[in-house]
């Protein structure tokens, strides 16, 4: 009995942390979403679902929702494919590979604010070096307004964010690749398998589950990103990069409507939780994967 009690005590600090950092703010946000609390005030009248009705009736919310999906899916596509390729390269025993593995981490280490400020200067149409060298090399013929153009701002931000994130995906996939026994590849090569067959019949099936898991993490993490977008475009131009987290910030701290901002936050929580349920219940890969050569 004593051992049982001690056993419960060990995770207790973590549980308290979760309660304080996660559960209490979540419940507070739900509460705020049901009240009309003026910014900076403690109290306000109870309005029930009024904040949700307002939000659902605003085109800017639906545009934000759409932008968030585009943002998350765009990042997902880049942050799974490129890291996969890099991880395969890094999985080889080549000279200097350890140095390369270390330098791959650099984008991950650079703070988002540094990336944002540097990007704003580098991508300036008139004075930024990116436009200068693209024009000089003949790749483009006139200056591109990367962060100020309605059509380019979102792809530019996705590329920036993916550049920052790819080391993380690379390391996770690399770790998974290193669990694959080398003998499988040797046996496959002996049987005449080419590199593509090795990839599709050995590599991908065996790391598939890891990639599938990373996929959901990447989607959720990117969905909630605020800093890079706010520090570069602030959701512009013309709300084309205004995702729901950016809308939450604007609604709470620029227009002083914490109730509406909280309701958007609650909607995001419900959406991501439902998505997670579908993803893990219905889309989970089968546990047994047969390797066929």
């Amino acid at each position: 009995m004593r051992r049982k009690i001690i056993g419960y005590l060990f995770p207790l600090p973590l549980l308290i942390l979760i309660l304080v950092i996660f559960l209490y703010p979540l419940l507070s946000t739900v509460r705020y979403s049901l009240y009309d609390i003026p910014f900076g005030a403690k109290e306000g009248p109870f309005v029930g679902p009024q904040n949700y009705r307002i939000i659902f009736g605003e085109p800017v919310f639906w545009q934000g929702f759409k932008n968030s999906i585009i943002w998350a899916l765009g990042n997902l596509a880049l942050q799974l494919t490129i890291p996969f390729g890099i991880a395969i390269v890094l999985n080889h025993r080549l000279k200097g590979i350890n140095f390369v593995r270390a330098t791959v981490l650099i984008p991950w280490i650079v703070p988002a604010v540094v990336v944002a400020i540097c990007a704003r200067w580098l991508l300036l149409p008139t004075m930024g070096p990116v436009n200068y060298y693209l024009i000089k090399s003949g790749i483009i013929t006139h200056r591109l307004n990367f962060l100020g153009s309605l059509g380019l701002a979102m792809p530019t931000l996705i590329a920036l964010n993916s550049w920052k994130f790819f080391p993380f995906g690379t390391l996770l996939i690399l770790a998974a690749l290193q669990t694959i026994p080398v003998e499988l590849y040797e046996a496959a090569r002996v049987d005449g398998a080419n590199p593509w067959q090795c990839f599709t019949r050995i590599t991908f099936p065996l790391v598939g589950r890891m990639v599938w898991f990373i996929g959901f993490l990447v989607f959720v993490w990117n969905y909630n990103i605020f800093d890079l977008i706010w520090l570069t475009t602030k959701g512009g131009p013309g709300n084309t990069t205004q995702t729901l987290p950016v809308l939450i910030y604007r609604r709470a701290f620029k227009t002083f409507r914490p109730g509406e901002a909280s309701s958007i936050a609650v909607i995001i929580v419900i959406f991501l939780a439902a998505l997670g349920l579908v993803y893990f219940k219905l889309l989970a890969p089968k546990k047994e994967e047969r390797v066929i050569v």
């Binding site: 900076g40 704003r120 004075m127 962060l147 512009g236 131009p237 013309g238 701290f253 227009t255 002083f256």
Partner: protein, 442 residues
Amino acid sequence: MSSKNEKVRGAWIGIIVGLLIFSFPVTIWAQETTQLTYWHHEAPAHRVAAHQQVIDIFQKEHPDIKITQEVVMWGDAWPKTLAAIEAGNPPDFQYSIPDLLLTVYRANAIVPVTDVVLEMDEKYHFFPGQIAPYHHKDEYWGIPIWTMVFLLTYRPSYFEEYVGTTEPPKTWEEFLDYAEKLTQAPDLYGIGLGGAKNLMIDEQAYCIMTTMGAKFFDEKGNIIFDSPKTIKALKFYKEIFQYTPPGADAWSWGEMELNIAAGTVAMAPYFPSVQKRFHEELDTSDYAGAHMPYPPDGKPGTITYPNEIHVYKQTVARGHLPAVEKYIEFVLRPEINYILTAVQEPGGFYPVTEAASKAPEFWKDPIITRFKKTNEVAMKALEYATLYGFEYGRWVNLGIGDITGADVLADVVHRIVTGQMSVEEAVKWGAKQMEKYSEPVG
């Protein structure tokens, strides 16, 4: 043995008595020293240094008052101020701007400073336009310490090369003509104007609006933003915007100053504060400021942004009000005020009183001297400059703070320059947004 014990006991008694004797004056001193904390929002290092210079001089004169400055970035000013008020722990006083002052007034957090204002007015004579934003219900709720003003800043050498004169434009027609002639893409563009959703665009757009006499409110505080004057002003903004560099629709303060200093834009409605960079980094006098051009049916106009001190209720409860009043009187002395104007940001911050505007310390600053003509124009512009929502010498609509905080005007401009809406549609939309925050005083 007992002699040794007696010696030890004697020593302990001596130590305790000694501590008591010496701690008594220290305790008294500590109790008599008033500790003040104030917030301001000028984060650049040289501005923080100017504040500290004033504090150091003040503390030498008043050794019983200790002051600590705390910097809160402008972007965080509204939420952090309101959070501090809600927590019951705001600073003793705060440097602020009229729209933020209105927000804290609505939070019922501040006390009037009428007595100090009247006393200082008698001594130093405030410019009427600078004290007007603080008058409400027969009280003054803030006291201006320095002010800011937009001019049409420009590069005289570019004017000479491409327009054939160093004289700045005076009418809208000339303004457009200059902008067109000065646009030599891709290296030079006629004008620096922004199109993003931020305070800079609020101010640039208002600069142009006010030369048409367009306003947010009427005298009763009703929203009159959707008017022919506003539409005409913003149509002009859209027309001249075509001469801005690509990417200007995403600019904020940093990009604007970079492009002015780099010579990518020939002119820009802006604070003439860039003169500091021209003096220190570029060492050139090729920079000037002029009155904003206005149309035949318009009038001289520009934006001014006084920065004031307001005092919190908790300051009175803490017994710190007399010390705060001493500080306010101190910083308005012309020979001290120049530190918060010419030293803190030459060409950016200007005096708010006649006495300070004549102070030799202000005009002897090397940067102010180098660009003397521009600074004289700025002082002249203060005579007619106004601030959105405060044009009537009193508060007419308490929602102006939220309207500014939400960057509604900048949002209207953004929709226009990005082609999302026509000028008429955007103005109509903007008026509707303003109605959400509107709180007419009546």
